[in-house]
């Protein structure tokens, strides 16, 4: 369980978050959505522990301010939006960096985890490629494999681990969007937890258990996608009137930009 309470963050003099409270349970995919600049990434960075903030963040009951970096690294892994590097590392070397945290098994075991992680993000056969020569979407999937290696067991050391994903599918083609969302779901089903910042509302509605809608540094609405994705919320948050529909069989809400007034 990740429990962030009353987070407030100031970045270079501007109040970016105004008392944001976010909860994410193990076994659930929690999606944070909202317009550009609504504080999604800042919230995730505060939860990851990389920003100074007012308020509290607890992971599995531990205040993250009391945990050492390596202790934190065993409880959560983070996928940033994009990562540019200036040294010619291979894909394999990058993915294995995730494995060097914590006490991991022998060399063969780590090799197996690294190649399984690459397979999970559909990059088998990319191990020997240079990271800098990959496309943006491929680089993002390498980073996800690296983060996965860090908490390879969704329930490790007797407690659930969490994946914090900042726009995990934003630069992916539609097939790989599905691959990665299924991977995140699967991580939840095996007992871990996921917090993902999403822009694609329809994909979010398909995969998320809970949706946190943010606006201007505050949480505007929280709940199951069915409850959050309503005509009223769309207009209030995004400032454009759109009709929310539901798929015939599954009752999954979706919006089409075509319906915008």
């Amino acid at each position: 369980m990740i429990k962030a309470s009353h987070l407030s963050v100031r970045l270079s003099g501007t109040q970016v978050l105004h008392g944001v409270s976010i909860e994410a349970a193990a076994g659930q995919l929690t999606a944070i959505v909202g317009p550009n600049g609504s504080g999604k990434t800042t919230s995730l960075k505060a939860i990851a522990g990389e920003l100074p903030y007012a308020g509290t963040v607890h992971i599995n009951g531990h205040d993250i301010k009391t945990l050492k970096p390596w202790e934190l690294a065993l409880k959560r892994a983070v996928l940033p939006q994009s990562t540019v590097i200036s040294f010619p590392f291979t894909v394999r070397e990058i993915v294995r960096m995730g494995l060097s945290v914590g006490a991991k098994a022998d060399a063969e075991e780590t090799d197996r985890i690294a190649s399984d992680a690459l397979e999970a993000v559909d990059l088998s056969g990319f191990a020997g490629r240079f990271y800098q020569e990959l496309s943006g979407g491929e680089q993002q999937r390498v980073q996800l494999a690296r983060a996965l290696c860090q908490i390879w067991e969704p329930v490790g050391y007797g407690e659930p681990a969490f994946l914090l994903l900042d726009e995990p599918v934003s630069s992916l083609d539609i097939r790989h969007q599905l691959t990665i969302m299924r991977l995140a779901r699967n991580f939840c089903e095996r007992g871990g937890g996921v917090i993902a910042i999403m822009h694609d509302l329809n994909l979010t509605a398909m995969f998320a258990d809970r949706m946190i809608m943010m606006k201007a540094g505050r949480v505007h609405a929280t709940g199951h996608p069915n409850e959050v994705m309503t005509n009223a919320v769309m207009e209030a948050v995004f400032g454009c009137a759109m009709r929310v529909n539901a798929t015939p069989g599954g009752n999954i809400p979706f919006v089409l930009p075509h319906t915008a007034a």
Partner: protein
């Protein structure tokens, strides 16, 4: 029997090469790196021996070794003059070359890891100028201002002063060039030039104030040379260099993670602030100690790690020890050229490293523009 053995032998040697090749294709360069470190170790030893034997006085390796090991009959083979030349001139010079070369190359590699940029180098971004300023301050204002420093540190005073100069420059540079965990290449290089120029200007004022004896001491810093090598210098700078080299292997994993950015390194469990502090102090200490004994020798710190990254990749667990070995070997080699190319005179070694290093640096720039965001 004979035939089958040969086949088996062939098969083994081929399978090792084949293994290296298949690992390379899988993106695994660790065995290759270990092999290279072994080769560099041998090369360093060979260069060290060659350096002791090279020069006007003739001394064969066998005789020198036998004499140094105190074996019978070696006394007669070497004249007293030869023995003095070897023990008090060539040996300290080779040892100092190895220490300073290793320190320059490793400082370069650590600084590049810290700034996440292959162009960072203590010589290039003003850290060496800062260290020189520290040393010059001590020489010129010496006894009147820094009496206590001499009292406390004795003959370590000069390396310590250079260390302080280097540390202040590095800290300033890091503060200026890094904003919210991201280091700007352009800011770093430009700020480095400005800081270097500032340190140079202050050094200029001090030189203007210096008397004749101090001037003779000072000209030495402008060029960089191993010519004054003696056991005293090794005793004063050696321990500082060795300690900062000994710390560096513990930074390797952190520097690897730092490649992905400060936030990502923190996410992976690295205590980033502590890593940066240790890296900055160790770079400043080894640069300061090197500058104090040999002046500013340029480009070793940028060329050596770059060549090694092309061969074995940027993994700091292998890059750092390999840099130490190759840096030491190349500096001894450059020194051999410096003292034999215009006999009986001697070129300052900084000229040799600049002639070899500057074109190489330009080549890196042109080749890597796309990747380095220039």
């Amino acid at each position: 029997m004979h035939r089958s053995e040969m086949v088996a032998g062939d098969g083994r040697s081929q399978s090792f090469a084949a293994r290296l090749k298949s690992e390379w294709h899988m993106g695994d360069r660790s065995r290759l790196a270990q092999l290279l470190i072994l080769v560099l170790l041998v090369a360093a030893a060979a260069m060290f021996a060659a350096s002791i034997m090279t020069g006007a006085a003739d001394a064969s390796l066998g005789n020198v070794l036998r004499w140094l090991l105190g074996m019978e009959g070696a006394e007669q083979a070497l004249s007293v003059r030869d023995r003095i030349i070897i023990l008090d001139i060539r040996l300290p010079r080779a040892v100092l070359g190895m220490l300073v070369g290793a320190s320059l190359a490793v400082s370069g590699a650590v600084m590049q890891g810290l700034f996440r940029n292959p162009l960072a180098d203590p010589g290039l971004v003003g850290v060496s100028s800062g260290a020189s300023l520290g040393a010059v301050l001590l020489i010129v204002l010496g006894s009147s201002f820094f009496g206590p420093l001499f009292a406390i540190f004795g003959f370590y005073a000069l390396p310590v002063a250079a260390f302080c100069g280097g540390l202040i420059t590095t800290l300033l540079l890091y503060k200026i060039a890094t904003r919210s965990g991201q280091t700007s290449v352009a800011t770093m290089l430009l700020a480095g030039i400005a800081l270097g120029a500032l340190a140079g200007a202050v050094t200029g004022v001090l030189i203007f104030m210096a008397d004749d004896k101090q001037l003779r001491d000072l000209t030495f810093w402008g060029l960089g040379s191993l010519a004054g090598a003696n056991w005293m210098k090794i005793l004063s700078a050696g321990p500082i260099i060795l300690v900062s080299l000994a710390v560096v292997p513990f930074l390797a994993r952190g520097l690897n993670a730092l490649t992905l950015g400060e936030a990502a390194a923190f996410h992976m469990g690295i205590p980033v602030q502590r890593l940066k502090n240790i890296a900055i102090v160790s770079v400043a200490a080894s640069t300061g100690a090197s500058v104090a004994v040999s002046g500013g020798i340029g480009f070793v710190g940028i060329v050596v790690p770059h060549v090694l990254r092309m061969l074995i990749g940027p993994d700091h667990r292998y890059l750092l020890p390999a840099s130490a070995l190759l840096g030491g070997t190349l500096l001894i080699f450059a020194d051999m050229i410096a003292r034999t190319i215009v006999p009986p005179a001697e070129l300052p070694i900084g000229i040799i490293t600049a002639f070899a290093g500057a074109p190489f640096f330009l080549w890196i720039l042109l080749r890597g523009r796309a990747h380095m965001g220039l």
